[in-house]
Symmetry: C2
Subunit: 476 residues, 2 copies
Amino acid sequence: MDAKLEKYFKYVDENTKYFIDQLREVVAIPSVSADHTKRHHVVEMGKWLEKRLLDLGCQVKMIDLGMQTLQGVEVPLPPVVLASYGDDKDKKTITIYGHYDVQPALLSDGWNTEPFTLVEEEDGRLVGRGATDDKGPVLGWLLCLEAHQKLDIEIPVNLKFCFEGMEESGSIGLDEVIIDQADKWFKGTDYTCISDNYWLGTTKPALTYGLRGNNYFHLEVSGPQADLHSGVFGGVVQEPMTILTNLLSNLVDINGKIKIPHIYDQVAELTEEEDKTYSSLSFQNSDLINDLKADIVIHSENADSLKSRWRYPSLSIHGVEGAFYDPGSKTVIPSKVTGKFSIRSVPFMDPATISKLVIDHINSEFAKLDSKCKMRVWEESSGRWWYSSPNHPNFVAGSRAIKRVFNVEPEMTREGGSIPVTLTFEEALKTNVLLLPMGAANDGAHSTNEKVDKYNYINGIKLYGAYWAEIAALAK
Amino acid sequence: MDAKLEKYFKYVDENTKYFIDQLREVVAIPSVSADHTKRHHVVEMGKWLEKRLLDLGCQVKMIDLGMQTLQGVEVPLPPVVLASYGDDKDKKTITIYGHYDVQPALLSDGWNTEPFTLVEEEDGRLVGRGATDDKGPVLGWLLCLEAHQKLDIEIPVNLKFCFEGMEESGSIGLDEVIIDQADKWFKGTDYTCISDNYWLGTTKPALTYGLRGNNYFHLEVSGPQADLHSGVFGGVVQEPMTILTNLLSNLVDINGKIKIPHIYDQVAELTEEEDKTYSSLSFQNSDLINDLKADIVIHSENADSLKSRWRYPSLSIHGVEGAFYDPGSKTVIPSKVTGKFSIRSVPFMDPATISKLVIDHINSEFAKLDSKCKMRVWEESSGRWWYSSPNHPNFVAGSRAIKRVFNVEPEMTREGGSIPVTLTFEEALKTNVLLLPMGAANDGAHSTNEKVDKYNYINGIKLYGAYWAEIAALAK
């Protein structure tokens, strides 16, 4: 195995230019799923993958998801691209997920270069929309497979791919496909691997074993049938916006402490063992402050910031619908306003319990106000937290692969956000899921000047091959 | 005088159809000042007035206000139309203000008929954008003058007109014109009259002698340089939106009581005499509740609602700029949010004192939070309240004119909103200003299906003639 991997690593290093050219080709397809005028490019990108996978000898199945109305226009949903390679009963089978759509990007948003033209900077940054999220990783798997074929190295595992084109726009239809195909296309999967997140820092590779969940709430206060003039009605009627700000101000304090009674009751206790793991991680509040360009970090200890992100719930107020939001001034009393807020959940909070506690709390606060306006609060959506064992063989293989490529132990990380498909794969396929990031913390996935470092991209492609090899080695 | 007025009233009654046709003609010009694609119609409406005034033998001066950038497009500001009729040293001189631009209106907003096609309903409602605000009144003055000429009745006063085309869009440039022309075009003005507000109810004519002022504030809280993802940063950083909702919730309670210390100190005390005036007014909370389609009225006594509107300050929260405002859900932590709120002021509150109290209060509340985010609060604009003596000769004449036309005493009213030009005329021309409404409370000035009742329109035109006559009679 070692000799084969050595050969593969060498090949990857020697073909850096080709790999970057390939990335340039996919970045050039502006597959922005959120923009109806770009939707045909998402479909185009799906077809690009189909052709490439067929050329590599994969079986491919394009799952048509039908149509969608986007910005008032009927557009096709991009297909889910399923592919498989190998069907050897003596090998383990890995299902690999990625997405081929990207976030919107305009030069005028503040990009230094054309977002859909990959630019290789002198310091090794490969700048372009999708470079790290998630075209670099998706392409990486294909290039890994291709390299093995060119080197005539047998693929040590059976592969199943699942690439979607709607990740940045709510993954419409994906869950249904995974559930439906669990016993069909995905049958026989031993391990699942998702490469769609990031290292904790910029130098140390990571494996990710936990995600927070999210319960999203809408809180609507309504009064008159139509908006009113504050000159005529100010002081005369109860105003929905006054009531809403009152209710929103009773959700969380400015240092992140949630004010909803019993919300912390189900949060896992911090054991001494877990506590120790934070001290060795490459996370610095000072880096955070640099990135944010503002010292607004709540905790003074680095570890406390990570704990807040990974293992404690948080509540954010996202905005208000229905009130005046433009620049300038308007003397309106909005008739109906809807506050939006969400709670990031952690082990072992039960989503239904969170929902009940929030709604009970707001009902009780509203009752205290004795208001004549109407109030409704509901859970708009909810996704559970995910927490896997970092000692599972899937993670052991990932860890060994990292050791091979980078000659270090991975940082075992969790994320503050959610990647809902992780849970879907875990539950539908009944397999362990490994999150195996390629990019670094500062890649700016949804931001301007998104990049992947050449170092991460090239070593990521090596890592994928090493991961396959280590999965295969597990069985022996 | 009586015979002449009788003759005039009779003529108005007999020419109802012509007057409505004339209103139809001006409503058909969609002079929406807020829409750059309609701006040429505002200019067209100004020219219509110019021609009409010249045909009536007026001297006319069109004041060019230059250009404006609106919605990114360079458009001309519509001219201020100045006109004068008569220069008899033995007569009193009245300056009359009105505006010829209108609010936006689209059939799709919920109009039952084309907004720019005047429709005469069977119940006497003349429906069309601008019918009551303010084309009916502006045209009314011209038709009054024309009728006198046709009847060969001498105009008993000298007239000066000031018609602007930007009232619905901030009256850009108007104050400067009034101030500049105070000793020129408006020289010799004895009384000013503005017909751009409404009766208190729907049956009794009114004279208006008071308006509330308005101090508008922006309260900005900023944290990170860019918006953040609540998964990654929730619980880790202080969030501007949490701080803003906290500060906004400390401004006013849900029953309109302003929480800013000392804000009520300068409010005029309610004398027994003033208190009595409220009991006879034709205002019912039940009408209000019907109009609002919701019982959200704070006070159970009719008089208390009017006092709240007219003689007590109020604070309304209008909205938030920079937060998520669309329908749906977004897990954003907004980086910079600006709350918008304003205080309606009343006699004898000093605008500068209001500003200081508000800013001091917010600074003090923000200091209590001990936050790492940045906060700025400033007064964006301020307009003083206006309060005139209802016993001034200008009001006496108005009152007598109402008695002549309607055979009742007027309701002496104030308004909760502001009409800033009132103060400008009072101060620049150093004359008393009478607000002489034509329309009724339910005309829906800025709403869909705006109307003026034929009763109000026709009797309003009579009222204008009677007002001129009564002003002339004062001198005798």
